[in-house]
Amino acid sequence: MTGDAEGREQLERWAELFALAPPPAPEVAEKRRRGLLGRLRENLSKPRQTISPQIAGIFAGTLITSDTWDELEEALITADCGMDASLALVERLRAQEAEGRITNGQELARALATEVARDMAPEPPKLEIAHDPTVILVVGVNGSGKTTTVGKLAHRLAQLDQKVVIGAADTFRAAAIDQLAVWAERSGASLVRQAPGADPGAVAYDAVASGKARGADVVIIDTAGRLQTQRNLMDELRKVRGVIDKALPGAPHHTLLVLDATTGQNGLSQAQLFDEAIDLSGVVITKLDGTSRGGIAVAIHQTLKLPVAVVGVGEKLEDLQPFDARAYAGAIFTAE
C-alpha cells in the first residue's frame, strides 16, 4: 500500500488530518496532488452515478434563465440539502449572476462548488492526534456506520505508526463486540472489551485507562447506536463522556457524529440533539459510495457549523477519506 505513489499520497493526506509526521519518503518520485475532483471519484471503490441527469442538464446550459434557478433549487433539495440551505445557496449564486460573474451553466457549476466548499471547510479538516493518548468518541443513530468507521480510522492511524486502543462500549446490540473485534484485528489495534450488557461507561473508562497504561497514542471508543430522541440513552452517552473525562481530564478530544449519507432532514435533528448531549466536534459521512449525495451535511453545517472530518466510501478497511470539501461539493453537484 505505502509502496506506490497513490497510497503514499493518501497517507500524506491522513498525516495532515491527524497533524502527524508524514510517512518516510519513497524512492519513486511521487506525483503531486492530482485534480481535486478526480481524486474523490477515483477513490470511490465502486462505480457511482455521480450526477443526476437533472443536475447535468442545468450545468450544460449556455444561458442562465429563471428556470435554471428553479431547477438548481430542486437539484439541491434532491441532494437532501434541505429547503433553508438550498434557498440560501441559490440566493447567493443569483447575486453573483446579477454582478455578471456567472453567465453560463459551467460557471454556475464552478461557483456552486466554490460556495459549498468555502462554507463547509474554509480550512482543511483536522482531527489532531496531540495528546497522550488522544481520545475519540464515536456516536450516532443505529446502523449509521460507527463500528466500521472506528475500524477504518484505526487502520489509518496504525499505518502512520500510531498505537491504537479501541473500546467496545456498544455492549447492547447483539454481537456488536464480535463485529468490532474483527475490525480491531484487521487494523491491528488492541481491543478493550467487557461482557455484553456491561456498563458502557465502565468499558470506556477501562479503554482510556488501558490506553494510558500501555502508552497508546489514540483511544477510539465505539458506542451503541441510539436515536437522538431516546432521552435515557442520550443521558447514558453524557455519562460515558463524563467518565472518559474522569479517566483522562480534557478527554474525549474529538466527539464524532457518524451520519449515513442517505439520511434526510432528520439528520438535522440528529446533529442538534447529539450536540446538545455531548458537544460534538465533527461529523463523519458514511456510505457516500451509494446513490445518495449526503447533502444533509450542508444543512448541518449551515445550522450548527459542524465540520465534516472524514467520509466513508465503502465497506473495506481503506474506504475512508479525509473530508475534501471541494471534491465533495464537486462530486455532489457538478457535472464533468
Binding site: P47, D80, M83, G145, L227, G267, S269, K287, G290
Partner: protein
C-alpha cells in the same frame, strides 16, 4: 423541529379571513406551504410535485375558497390525498398456502434487516408459526453471530455457516434444513448493499432465485431522505419486492420516504419498527402515517394502545374512586403501571396532536427514572400505608426511603403531591373546574 402543516397553513391563511374571500394567490401560497412541509418530511420531490398538483386541483374545485376555515379544508384535502396515495388500509405480509412460507429480506446497509428478521420471527411465532432464520450476510463482520444471538433470545433456530462466503449456497442449504425440520416460516437475512454495486445486486437475485421466496421484503430506514425513490426503484427492478418494513419510526423522523416508496413502486408497507427490542414491531396504518408526515400527531394509535392495555371495567371503577376522593396509593400504582405499559410516556405524548409543537419540536421529555422511583417508593410501603397514607409518620418515611433507595424528601414530595391530586380529583367530580396548580 418542524412545524406541523396545520400550523403553517394557519399562518398562511391568518389575516385573510378578515378580508372574507380567498384569492388564487392565497391558494398558491398554501400550496407552497404544503410543498415545503412535505419536503421537510422527506417526501421525494417528484412525489411532492404529483401530490401538490392533485391537491391544488381539488382545492380550486372545492369550497375552500369560500370556506370560513380554509386552513382546515386544505389540511383535510391534503390528508385525504396522502392517505389515498399511501394505500387505503393496512396490508398483511403474504403467507404461502403450502408451507414453508419463505421471506427474503433486502435493503441498504444499516437499514435494520437483521433486527427486523428477529422481530418478524417473533411476531409470527406468537401467532403459532414455527419460524427459522437463515444468516446469509457473509459480508459484514459478525452479522451471522448477531442473528444467532437474536435467535437465541426469542427461541427461534438460526441456520448459519461459520466462515461461509457463499450466500446462495447457505440460503439453499438453510431452506433445505428448514423443510427437513418442518419449519413453516423461513426468514432469510441478507447483507446490506448499495444499489449500484452490481455484483452485490446480482448476489441478491441469485439468493432469491435459489430460495423462491413467498415474499421479498424491502427494509427501509424511516430517516431516509430523497434517495428513497432511487433505492426502492433499484430494488424493485432487481428483485421485485412485495412490500416494505419501515424501521426506526420510534424516533422523530417524519418518514416521508414511506410515502415516496409507496407512490413510486406501488408496494405496501407491511410493518413498522418502533424500537430496538424484538417486540417493537407494529402493523402499518396508512392514515396514521399520513398525519405523521403532516406533523399532526397520531391520536388513533394512542386510542388503540389504550384500548389494548386498559381494562374498561377497571377504568370505570377507578374513575368512581377518583371522583369520590377515595383513590388510594395502591390504585395510583396500578393506574401508573397501566399507562406505562402502553410504552414510554414521551412516545405516548408525542402522539397527541400539537404536543410536539408545544414542546417546541423537542421530543417530549418524560423523566422515566423519576417514575421508576415513584413506583419504588410505593412498593416499599405496607398495604396499610398505601391505603391510609396519613399514617406515614417520620420514621415510616425514613424506612420507605431506605427501602426504595430514595430520599425522605422524595417520599415527602410524593405524599404531598398525592394529597393535592386527590383534592383536585374530588373537585372535578363535583363538577367544579380545577384551578391550575400554582407551584
Amino acid at each position: 423541529m418542524f412545524d406541523a402543516l396545520s400550523d403553517k397553513l394557519q399562518g398562511v391563511f391568518a389575516g385573510l379571513k378578515a378580508r372574507g374571500k380567498l384569492t388564487e394567490a392565497d391558494i398558491d401560497k398554501a400550496m407552497r406551504a404544503i410543498r415545503l412541509s412535505l419536503l421537510e418530511a422527506d417526501v421525494s420531490l417528484p412525489v411532492v410535485k404529483q401530490l401538490t398538483k392533485a391537491i391544488s386541483e381539488r382545492a380550486h374545485g372545492s369550497d375552500v375558497m369560500t370556506s370560513l376555515t380554509p386552513d382546515q379544508q386544505v389540511v383535510k384535502i391534503v390528508n385525504e390525498e396522502l392517505t389515498r396515495l399511501m394505500g387505503e388500509s393496512s396490508v398483511g405480509m403474504p403467507m404461502s398456502p403450502r408451507p414453508p412460507t419463505i421471506v427474503l429480506m433486502a435493503g441498504l446497509q444499516g437499514s435494520g434487516k437483521t433486527t427486523c428478521c428477529a422481530k418478524l420471527a417473533r411476531h409470527y411465532q406468537q401467532q403459532g408459526r414455527a419460524p427459522m432464520m437463515i444468516a446469509c450476510d457473509v459480508h459484514r463482520p459478525a452479522a451471522a453471530q448477531q442473528l444467532a444471538v437474536l435467535g437465541e433470545q426469542i427461541g427461534v433456530p438460526v441456520y448459519k455457516e461459520d466462515g461461509g462466503t457463499d450466500a446462495v449456497a447457505i440460503a439453499t442449504r438453510g431452506v433445505a434444513q428448514a423443510r427437513a425440520a418442518a419449519r413453516d416460516l423461513v426468514i432469510v437475512d441478507t447483507a446490506g448493499r448499495i444499489v449500484i454495486d452490481e455484483a452485490m445486486m446480482a448476489e441478491l437475485v441469485q439468493v432469491r432465485d435459489a430460495v423462491s421466496p413467498t415474499a421479498v421484503v424491502l427494509v427501509l430506514d424511516a430517516m431516509t431522505g430523497q434517495d428513497s425513490v432511487n433505492v426502492a426503484s433499484a430494488f424493485q427492478e432487481a428483485v421485485n419486492f412485495d412490500g416494505v418494513v419501515l424501521t426506526k419510526l420510534d424516533g422523530d423522523a417524519r418518514g416521508g420516504a414511506a410515502l415516496s416508496v409507496r407512490a413510486v413502486t406501488g408496494r405496501p408497507i407491511f410493518f413498522v419498527g418502533m424500537g430496538e427490542k424484538v417486540d417493537a414491531l407494529e402493523p402499518f396504518h396508512p392514515d396514521r402515517m399520513a398525519s405523521r408526515i403532516l406533523g399532526m400527531g397520531d391520536v388513533l394509535s394512542l386510542i388503540e394502545k389504550a384500548e389494548q392495555t386498559v381494562d374498561v371495567d377497571d377504568a370505570k371503577d377507578l374513575q368512581k374512586k377518583m371522583t369520590s376522593g377515595q383513590m388510594t396509593l395502591e390504585d395510583f400504582l396500578v393506574q401508573m403501571k397501566q399507562v406505562r405499559k402502553m410504552g414510554p410516556l414521551g412516545q405516548l405524548l408525542g402522539m397527541v396532536p400539537g404536543f410536539k409543537a408545544l414542546a417546541k419540536g423537542q421530543d417530549v421529555q418524560v423523566d422515566e427514572g423519576r417514575l421508576d422511583r415513584i413506583e419504588a417508593i410505593i412498593h416499599s410501603m405496607t398495604p396499610h400505608e398505601r391505603r391510609r397514607p396519613d399514617v406515614i409518620n417520620g420514621s415510616r418515611r425514613r424506612r420507605i426511603a431506605i427501602g426504595s433507595g430514595t430520599t425522605v424528601q422524595e417520599v415527602n414530595q410524593l405524599l404531598s403531591q398525592f394529597q393535592q391530586m386527590k383534592k383536585l380529583m374530588k373537585r372535578m367530580g363535583k363538577g367544579g373546574f380545577p384551578s391550575l396548580p400554582t407551584a
